[in-house]
Amino acid sequence: MDPKERLLDHYHHPQFCRAIKDPTARGTTQNRSCGDQITWYVNVDKDYVITEATYEASGCSFAIAGASMVASAIQGKKAQEVLSMTDEELFQLVGIHPGPVRANCLLIGLQGVHAVLKKVIST
């Protein structure tokens, strides 16, 4: 499957796209310039290993597929490992290097989960 087809597949069939009741942490990130929004729900164990990470999202295909691919990649990973994931690594994971405007759409999922994990680690 080429990157665009894979992106469309994640957009039409987003993975881990649901809410969790009473998660360890949750948080909402918005892209105010276009209205995209994602809410992450994350459970971690005592060693900060992500036992479950899900989200609810509204936005364009890049925002939703980006969140879906991030969610697929981070299950079972250590929070610190996910926090060290760079924008460039996400572009490589997706297989698309978007222009500056659409990069914001693609990155909202990663930025959102980073914000939630920082909250987890700091408490």
Binding site: L8, Y11, H12, S33, C34, G35, G59, C60, S61, F62, R102, C105
Partner: protein, 399 residues
């Protein structure tokens, strides 16, 4: 064939984003290039031939703008952009504002003509009224006497002539007559960014006090805007920016400011850009505005008719007069970014987002939109290409 005037219009490229910026005819590009390659000197001070030529060309551009707007050159100020003009004006008009003044605008304003005035109202702690628009996209002006505006004080009114979202052209003479009948001390400012390339804009016909527009939306270069001010205001304005060019002299560390328009042009002005803009307006003056209007109206009607048949797409203000050709749509189960990006991948340029007019989107209770804005260089083929691609995008991204 007007398309051949625009070097960027290669076959297969469908540019439908003219409300964001118009394309530039070759004469405009050549005028800027000629300044940089033949007489690239600063204006007003140099005593050598190319400096004198630069000054003549820059002031000549001012004359061309004045002729285009039906006014005198002394009233024309070159700014960096329309946004710069709006912000400068908001500072310059402060001396006329009292505690009992009000600022009134409309919900369909672009951020550039909304935010500087909201900021001024907050700074001076005076009311900021936002008028609604009708289903036809017209400013609701009938209830302005119920807003509590003091007719004995200066009030500032800020409206666009054509909205960059609805594409609707306001009946400004009617709006101005209504305002002036109730508020004799009203100062009315017009944002002509969209109108100036679509209809003849004559400041005396509108009867406004100030008007601004950007060069790049009227076939001119980026980096230059125009602010027109009626003569009665010239000596009553605060100086918004200090520096070189705007002073005759500095004596005992005190600036002796120049006369209009130079007192409002601090620093080296956008010389090449102003010259390019003068050329653009000269070029536009040779076109027939009634033909431009008919052409854009025809393309808009085609668009509205066909867009109405595509599932997931809703044309904003479908029954309004879209004389300018600007059509904006919201979507039900497809994101406008996906539509615009998919069309972009097929060399079709449209715009998605809030169109720098988020108050209107909030007012209409809708999210991001996409906009198709053809102009005089577009053809029915451009419209058909966009409509075909739109149907494909909707089919691909509908959820």
């Amino acid at each position: 064939m007007i398309r051949s005037d625009f070097p960027i219009l290669r076959p297969g490229f469908h540019y439908l984003d003219s409300a964001a910026t118009t394309l530039k005819p070759r004469v405009v590009v050549d005028a800027e290039l000629s300044y940089y390659t033949e007489y690239s000197a600063n204006v007003h001070r140099g005593l050598y031939p190319i400096a004198e030529r630069a000054t003549q060309a820059y002031e000549g551009a001012r004359d061309k703008v004045a002729t285009f707007l039906g006014t005198i050159s002394q009233s024309i100020v070159f700014t960096k952009s329309a946004t710069h003009a709006s912000n400068m004006l908001a500072t310059a008009l402060e001396p006329l504002i009292s505690k009992k003044s009000s600022i009134i605008t409309c919900v369909a304003e672009h951020h550039s003509s909304f935010l500087p005035w909201r900021h001024l109202s907050k700074k001076r702690n005076i009311p900021f009224h936002v008028l609604p628009i009708s289903e036809a996209g017209m400013i609701e002006i009938t209830k302005i006497d119920e807003l509590g505006i003091d007719p004995k004080e200066h009030s500032i009114w800020m409206f666009n002539q054509i909205s960059n979202v609805t594409g609707v052209c306001q009946d400004l003479p009617h709006v101005l007559r209504t305002i002036r009948a109730i508020f004799p001390k009203a100062i009315v400012i017009i944002d002509a960014c969209q109108s100036v390339s679509h209809i003849p804009v004559r400041v005396t016909d509108i009867d406004c006090d100030a008007l601004f527009f950007s060069g790049h939306k009227v076939f001119g270069p980026t980096g230059v805007g125009v602010l027109w001010l009626q003569e009665e205001l010239h000596d009553r304005l605060a100086i918004p920016e200090y520096g070189g060019e705007m002073v005759e002299a500095v004596v005992d560390h005190t600036p002796l400011v120049q006369k209009m328009p130079h007192r409002l042009e601090a620093g080296t002005p956008p010389i090449a850009q102003a010259i390019g803009l003068g050329t653009a307006l000269e070029w536009l003056s040779k076109q027939d505005f009634s033909k431009i209007q008919k052409h854009n109206e025809y393309l808009a009607k085609e668009l509205v008719r066909e867009l109405s048949t595509i599932r997931s797409i809703r044309v904003l203000f479908p029954h309004a007069a879209h004389d300018s050709g600007i059509i904006t749509c919201h979507t039900t189960d497809v994101h406008p970014h996906d539509i615009a990006a998919d069309l972009g991948s097929k060399d079709i340029a449209v715009r998605a987002g809030y169109q720098c007019a988020q108050p209107l989107h909030e007012y209409l209770n809708i999210g991001a939109t996409f906009r198709i804005s053809p102009h005089l260089y577009n053809t029915v083929d451009d419209i058909r290409a966009a409509l075909t691609a739109l149907e494909e995008a909707v089919a691909l991204y509908r959820r």
